[in-house]
Subunit: 457 residues, 2 copies
């Protein structure tokens, strides 16, 4: 799902116009994307959403309708003429998707003429925020399931079309096995899965009729057994197997209500006694990572979980304190000093240090510094063109699996880890921060005075 070029806040277009009027729109600036604080219930975030951002940026342009709307808001003709030729021509360095990331670490840095770098703020925050939130939630759910498959049933509960379709992609990167949503399956080449709804059972003359119809039409299908009474439903599956004999090819039953721990054990026994040890059990209905963890650790005979709202909207942490801030302009470091909203100036690199294959510490350094660890940010766009690494979704998923497996074990627990993952700042960056702050403090402590310039030149 692509955005209109007008997926932008008015103030960004206003600033672009101001840069244009002041004649500085082409001056190079760098902006950095980072999360100020992790949600309390997240030990790390899984960076995600970059590919969609890069596609949007490469295609960014203002069409006739966009310009007409901007004219109606009072933007003048000379600015709109310039905007008609506007393209994103910047460079971007970013964390590969599927990389665990912590507070204050740059997820992405844009270097471009300031007008271009500024105008993409809302797009980048929205899209990387969305997929990072959802991938980070899904990672917890996948950990909780201890190898049992997770199926994304969340399209109906996601916050809109875009969240559902891109969410399925983020879930897949985090290790989710399949999605119920066909638009997502097609868009990202993700396996699709689905069973039947209670309404199908209710529309048939009997539950037994519904089961037989599905079993005859669909090979390897899943039968939903709890429309009226779950264990009676399981008995009807067993009876159907006896009736159909060799034609019976049902893959699984699904339980969507009641106590899944007790019901799955009773259902398993009925299936096994009926000679259906090969029929799996899928559980759905209000599941989150805590409930899945409980079921998986109790040994309930559940083979797969269908997860909806809790994953689809990351209900316990549905938004991120994510920011996109100016870090350099015309060769000089920039930062905010606002209380609680400071940011690190200048272009940066993250070095992840490992000990025996386990990540032990990250160092945020200036871009040109060199450390012994693995540098995480890599060039992904140059002069507005995507640097294509030929990575498939499966490649990204493999990267995410390996990168999460290399975290200290308590980072992968559902409980908040005792101490946060250590992220430090290099001596060089700390020194640079002090120098930039001192120069800004001189500026702002100076007595109020008439502006020196009418142009920011």
């Amino acid at each position: 799902m692509t955005a209109s070029a007008l997926f932008v806040d008015l103030y960004e277009i206003a600033m672009l116009r101001a840069y244009f009027e002041l004649g500085v729109a082409e001056r190079r600036a760098s902006f950095g994307l980072f999360v100020r604080r992790l949600p309390a219930s997240r030990n790390f975030l899984l960076a995600c959403g970059l590919a969609d951002v890069l596609k949007e940026l490469q295609a960014l342009h203002y069409d006739e309708d966009d310009l007409r709307y901007l004219a109606s808001l009072g933007f003048p003709a000379d600015f709109l003429d310039w905007l008609a030729r506007f393209r994103f021509t910047g460079d971007i360095r970013a964390l590969p998707e599927g990389t665990p990331v912590f507070a204050n670490e740059p997820i992405l840095e844009v270097t471009a003429p300031i007008g271009e770098a500024q105008i993409v703020e809302t797009l980048i925050l929205n899209q990387i925020g969305l997929q990072t939130i959802l991938a980070s939630k899904a990672a917890r759910i996948v950990f909780a399931a201890r190898g049992r498959a997770i199926v994304d049933f969340g399209a109906r509960r996601a916050q809109g079309f875009d969240a559902a379709v891109k969410g399925a992609r983020a879930f897949s990167i985090a290790g989710v096995a399949a999605t119920s949503d066909l638009a997502a399956g097609r868009a990202h080449d993700i396996p699709v899965a689905g069973t039947m709804a209670h309404s199908f059972v209710e529309a048939c003359p009997s539950e037994a009729d519904a089961f037989e119809a599905y079993a005859r039409i669909f090979p390897r299908t899943t039968l939903l057994v709890d429309t009226y009474d779950a264990l009676e439903g399981v008995r009807k599956v067993v009876a159907l197997a006896q009736q159909m004999g060799a034609d019976f090819d049902v893959h699984a039953i699904r339980l969507d209500s009641g106590d899944p721990d007790a019901l799955s054990r009773q259902a398993r026994r009925l299936l096994d006694e009926g000679g259906l040890a090969r029929v799996e059990i899928l559980v759905s209905g209000g599941l989150d990572e805590a409930r899945i963890d409980h079921l998986a650790s109790s040994g309930a005979p559940i083979d797969a979980f269908g997860v909806g709202a809790e994953m689809a909207a990351s209900t316990d942490a549905p938004s991120l304190d994510i920011a996109y801030k100016l870090i350099e302009f015309a060769g000089e470091g920039r930062m905010k000093l606002s209380p609680g909203k400071r940011n690190l100036p200048g272009r940066k690199q993250i070095f992840r240090l490992f000990h025996d294959g386990v990540a032990v510490r990250d160092v945020i350094a200036r871009e040109e510094e060199r450390y012994s660890g693995v540098p995480l940010l890599e060039p992904v766009m140059r002069d507005g063109e995507i640097i294509d690494r030929g990575q498939s979704l499966l490649d990204i998923r493999d990267h995410a699996r390996a990168a999460m497996a290399a975290l200290p074990a308590d980072m992968r627990s559902l409980a908040p880890c005792a101490s946060p993952y250590p992220v430090t700042i290099s001596v060089g960056l700390a020194d640079y921060e002090r120098r930039v702050e001192a120069s800004l403090a001189r500026e702002t402590r100076s007595p109020a005075r008439p502006p020196r310039l009418t142009r920011c030149s």
Copy 2:
């Protein structure tokens, strides 16, 4: 933002195929949309999102790409030929957008051939869920502001493009004054608003330069004063006014960090002392209804609030327990009996009873029953065509304002009201529910037996 026809769960297409194979896809069915339980922090929900659903349904069709993808999943040619001609031809009755609604009340009822009524489930849940969640949250924020303007700054924090653009519409219906997002402003003809970012201030040689540039370029602009030190920023605005004289036409200042209560009072005093009593104060940064309520009730001199993440993702209640369930098939009532997931059978009407202009009780009745209150569900689609009432967004907003104003006062408080709004079931509906349940119980209590029919006929 429109969906692909593939914004559907696999199981809905599977059921459609089963209905097609069984020759019953054309049998008429009714489905009802309702919320099982309100979120703990909501006294009511504001129904929203209907207009977008109706537009999607009127346009619904499977194109060549859709059919090719479905073929790749194994759906057979005869079914796909039929699907190529598939259109939504049903009837819909619904609550007008902007109507307060409570648990178990039908928000919408679809009557159509079962295949059509079934296939739209994910679309309807997703879209009405999204806008209803967001409008309901925004209503609380508007109440808390006690007449001060709320501006939607949330596009960057919304869960994706669709949530941002449709969210702005839902916020507007709930009484929000303007949005920062231009795509939303254009799509829904909503006023747009915006100021400047800290990056603009940082990119200028000094804060004073930044303020003067904006004040000269943009009439009635808002200056962001807290990049370095908020009160120093205000002093620079006062100095700029003195310097510019009659050319100074700044509308407001914006505070985005620190303690907004104390800062707004100090800023107000500085502005007033500087002869700028007409310059308003806008506050933003991490606001939710509780913080706005505190600021508004403390008498802080704040004229408007910019609200981001908390409203954009309804962070305290980001998803609804919303369901779309079969209620009638081939003339007979249908319902689930699953524990905790029952639903009311048959087509229904809600009657809202008023006393001295205040809503005192709702009665959910069978569609054909007549009560003294105001019937809330009205026909909105017939034979797949939208029944156009020529309502503008402002009309819907007026309806919402009046309908919320008619609720008991404690429903509009931020705290959970002492007792929920009374919703009762008519004697006729209660009786019908018992009869449907008894007939289903006979079916499901019968011993497991081979199906009577291979066709659901």
